[in-house]
Symmetry: C2
Subunit: 663 residues, 2 copies
């Protein structure tokens, strides 16, 4: 499969990654650019006392090029690897000799930093400061060693696939070999997994490219050893000492749920703990379940997926309801202003959705992926490509962020960088590889699954080509031209009918509406034969008032406005303050004025929804009043809304997704 | 003035204090009862690692009776003094030889613990552990030395007034003398105030009983020195060291606003920082402003009062919108579930209201005092008199408290005691002295101000007697019988017309409605003459739907139900879960079914309000739905409500004050 994205929406985003993000992040990780780091918004990891990244520098120290201490977070290496992965994806769709040369030199540095046995984690290799005398793999709860190596493996595989650079793959294999020597069921090996899942999904990728069973076996091992001994980390920690020299001193007090080790994986029913860890683990589980045809693991993936997307996910796709530990809380607990909804967690849910789609063509997987890529996953990056959010609130107020400590972690402006800089590169690598998030292909059953509406030209098995044209998400007309060479056996094209359009869509095949394809599990199935087939899909792009299940306390009697997959929000700069005075009746929402505005926010659809606005009482009015004697008046007034992902790109103002309604 | 409370409501509460609270707290502070201490709910002070109070024991150590280290919080002594103050008040209305003997012996111990120069603060006197080598008054931001002595002064004055015990007053005077030697404008004296206000109001009380000008001058000094040098604490802290041995290590990072020292007091316009400190300071300011006829200080008191009660107070009277630092946040920021609303802060606002009423007869002062004593101040104590809340939420959910760390400080059950045990004794001393919160008397202008409806028999100047009869807050008929001896000059009785009844009340004087008294600033003014005058006041006890100013984001389009001064809430055990499905139209609230239920919650009025309940979607329904296609149905259903102060006395269930309405 080779996919060339032609979607204007996504080409613009990909252009940002190539032109802005990759050069910007390169400067940052190479200390060519000093960065302003906000207070750590998570409250769960320490701030680092530096305005320099040190990330590449640590590798140079480990390689012996320079003498210095290790600096930065214990997982600082991953910033370099995620940058390399972005660069690899970008080279696939835009050749750049200079960039490729940078990458080649970086890989050479990484190879030299890697220990002869394949181990590579700079804090342990440099062994300065708090890491002096520490042995690898002795504090897996906190060390992130395999998390970091997993990120390299992803990057190395991607770069190898993009450029054929064998050294990139070799480093990854040597890492896998190193882990294989230290971890496994056998006596004498370590029976534990990394506190932060990542290595599982990385080893599955390494297996796919090398077909070396050891890597797959190791991925299975890391998934299944998790929670076998819930006290594993406690025991390792006890051997390290009393915690006074811990990497993250607060972590000892955290529960086993936090690291998804409270019970064996197939006994886990709910998504608990750190949201990013949970979705990285889910991605690995789904990937491994598919590769090993493990039905129990598949059921586990489905169970954890369902808990997240049916009970613990914001309408924007955000996950993680508290900043304390950047974590899940409990089913249906979705506060809009004290949440976390980390950008990385949304990106991670995209990874998971893609793997679920590889297992099974279920509309829900495509729907959630779509929800993320048009909302929660991209809201983390500013339109300028150089500022980033950790936290993606559904309701924000500059006064609250400034003056109420319970909301202080909600930034009103995307930041240049973070001490723990996971989000910027994660968003970038998703965007750079968006071509991998459009189709799933099952050549064995001759099935091409088109689960996302991102315009593209693609080539599949047997020379089958699909040209997908649209101006999605602004326009709901999607046109597929399928070309099958003569003599090729019949195949099937599955096209996702989004849940939001399931009651109103139209398909014409070669200009005829007569033979409507069957829709099963959210996919329309269309037989394709030699020659050219023209398929026109039209989706219902009416403005929708969406409500939450009544179990969601924080959204009761409220609606969010959506059009297609895009969640809309209102900013105070477009409306009369305060935003909470607006009420949006659900019945009239479809009558909203919809207009594509080329000059706003780099081109967005803007919605003006029929609404009512409460009269402002003013500060001279009492704080509390008899509601009958002082009934507030409401006046009809339009509410101007913009796509959620584009908020906080103009002034610093209040923003709101959920509005009081008439229900 | 001598007031004997006869109100059934308050006699029950006072009985609890005499029969339960005083003996219980005595056992606790004397380590005769081990206590279960929950995790410190504030997050702002450290937990103490003990299930024993040590409070009296510390005094015995300081007195040389036993050898031991100091144990407990730096302000542990205040638990003893607040108990003594409660006991003093209780002895006024219920003689108890045994209790008085306990108190006399305790005062003897306190006298022996006091240093010859009058200083008394056991951590510094014992000087063990972290206090070894520390000199008094060298870290006023954190030490609470004058806070503790202030509490003794309040107790000593109260006990002297109650029993005539001269030793009790002598200790207080010696403390005042000690402070007078160390603090003041003069060169060589310390130019700073205690980080936690309290000494200001205490010295004003000491002045009133001793008429020694030095104490009043010192009170003025402490108020006016505040914020003169905003860096005063920083400078003291710097002399102590780097902070590693601080009493409260986190405190150095807190702002000057937190301790109300960011600017001189007459330049402070908003109530900032720790809510309890702010209202204790306000109480002192109002008291001193009255005693010194200082118009600027009076204006400051009015300004700070207005900011609190008009912009930063919950409908229950709770104040302090965040648990981080137990603090105020900003105007109109009143989240119902992530708040603090500390019991002590509500009690402190009663102190302030009483002082404001002494300055001026303005209905608002009496209204707020009434709001506190029937809601936020008493909700902190369980009906059993032995369990206490720090935090008084307006919306509580056991699942949120258990599983969402941002709500973990909201307990669903009152606790036996706290590491920092300020609240239990504060509530008790308010209740024990409730007779002081009914009238203000201005003999100079022959005015008796009846600002609270608490049935009582009272005697005033010139032998004037007032008998106030009612079953308030359940019944709105208040009957005053005023008896003035022959030959006494005419006087005036001012009776507060509560804001909530200002549109509907009736007064008959000696059976006639013909001469309606003028109402000014919330008070009806009635001339009283020799003989007996019968005044019948009838208040509008209709159930009211109350709404908040539209500037309060968290209450927009919601109502709270009140009847008279009592705020009502719903508990899930009385209704269909979840509570948030109920909607209470404001227009039909007055048609609620109202019934006094003698068997519930020790006798309360129960309201059944006409309401609508949304159908529950159930967990099989999607998380998000098209609101038009899946419009939720509502059914008429009564909502049963109980007085807010009585919540959490039965099962552990969700509770809610504000309900969606029709506005």
């Amino acid at each position: 499969m080779h996919v060339t994205v032609t979607s204007p929406f996504w080409e613009r985003y990909r252009g940002k990654v190539v032109d802005k993000v990759i050069p910007y992040q390169w400067e940052v990780i190479n200390d060519e650019r000093e960065i302003e780091i906000p207070d750590d918004p998570s409250g769960s990891v320490q701030d680092i006392d530096s305005t320099w990244s040190h990330a590449v520098r640590n590798l140079r120290v480990a390689a012996g090029d320079i003498q210095s201490d290790f600096k930065g977070f214990v997982f600082q290496d991953s910033d370099v690897y995620k940058w390399l992965e972005e660069a690899a994806y970008s080279l696939v769709y835009k050749a750049d000799e200079g960039l490729q040369e940078l990458c080649d030199r970086l890989i050479d540095l990484i190879a030299r930093a890697q220990r002869s046995d394949g181990y590579l984690d700079t804090p342990y290799l440099i062994g300065s400061g708090a890491f002096a005398g520490r042995r690898p793999f002795t504090q897996l709860q906190q060390s992130h060693e395999m998390y970091v190596m997993g990120h390299y493996i992803e990057a190395g595989v991607a770069y190898y696939e993009a450029t054929g650079n064998e050294q990139a793959l070799e480093i990854a294999k040597r890492m896998g070999d190193c882990l294989d020597r230290h971890f496994g069921e056998e006596e004498g090996k370590i029976h534990g997994a990394d506190g932060h899942p990542e290595i599982e999904l990385a080893l599955a990728r390494l297996y796919e490219v090398t077909r070396d069973d050891r890597y797959l076996k190791l991925a299975v091992f890391f998934i299944k050893v998790r929670g076998q001994d819930p006290d594993f980390y406690d025991k390792q920690n006890a051997e390290i000492g009393d915690g006074s020299t811990d990497i993250f001193p607060q972590m000892r007090a955290w529960t086993h749920e936090y690291t998804q080790t409270a019970r064996p994986i197939n006994e886990q029913n709910t998504a608990e703990g750190h949201a990013v860890r949970a979705v990285y683990l889910l991605t690995g589980i789904a990937h491994v379940a598919r590769l090993t045809h493990d039905e129990k693991l598949k059921a586990t993936a489905e169970r954890l997926w369902a808990d997240i997307v049916r009970r613990r996910m914001y309408v924007t796709g955000g996950i993680g309801s508290t900043h304390v530990g950047e974590a899940f809380t409990y089913d249906y607990d979705l506060p809009n202003d004290t949440l976390y909804a980390e950008s990385c967690a949304s990106v991670g849910l995209c990874f998971a959705a893609r793997q679920m789609l590889e297992i099974e063509s279920r509309g829900e997987y495509g729907d959630i992926l779509e929800r993320e890529i048009f909302n929660g996953a991209i809201s983390g990056m500013a339109l300028d490509g150089q500022h980033f959010f950790y936290v993606n609130p559904l309701e924000a107020d500059p006064q609250a962020s400034r003056n109420n400590p319970d909301r202080a972690h909600v930034l009103m402006r995307r930041a240049e960088w973070f001490g723990c800089a996971c989000c910027p590169a994660n968003i970038a690598r998703l965007i750079a590889s968006i071509d991998r998030y459009i189709y799933a292909v099952h050549e064995d059953r001759r099935e091409i699954v088109a689960h996302q509406f991102i315009a593209n030209d693609a080539e599949f098995f047997d020379g089958i080509r699909i040209k997908q044209e649209s101006n999605f998400p602004w326009d709901g007309h999607i046109h597929f031209t399928v070309t099958v060479p003569d003599g090729v056996a019949p195949a099937k094209l599955l096209i996702r009918i989004p849940e939001w359009s399931s009651d109103g869509y139209g398909i014409t095949i070669n200009g005829s509406e007569s033979s409507q394809p069957a829709v099963r599990d959210g996919f329309a199935s269309i037989g394709i034969r030699p020659g050219s087939t023209s398929i026109a899909l039209s989706l219902d792009m009416s403005v929708r008032a969406v409500r939450a299940n009544s179990a969601v306390r924080h959204d009761v009697r409220k609606v969010a406005i959506m059009r297609g997959p895009v969640v809309f929000c209102a900013e105070e700069s477009d409306n009369v303050a305060p935003l909470w005075n607006y009420r949006v009746p659900s019945g009239t929402a479809p009558q909203s004025h919809v207009e594509y505005s080329a000059n706003e926010l780099e081109g967005v659809v803007v919605i003006k929804a029929p609404a009512f606005r409460l009269d402002d009482d003013g500060t001279e009015a009492p704080l509390y009043m008899n509601a009958s004697r002082h009934a507030p008046a409401e006046n009809a007034e339009e509410l101007k809304m913009i796509p959620y992902y584009a908020w906080a790109n103009r002034t610093v103002d209040r923003m709101q997704v959920w509005f009081d309604s008439d229900i």
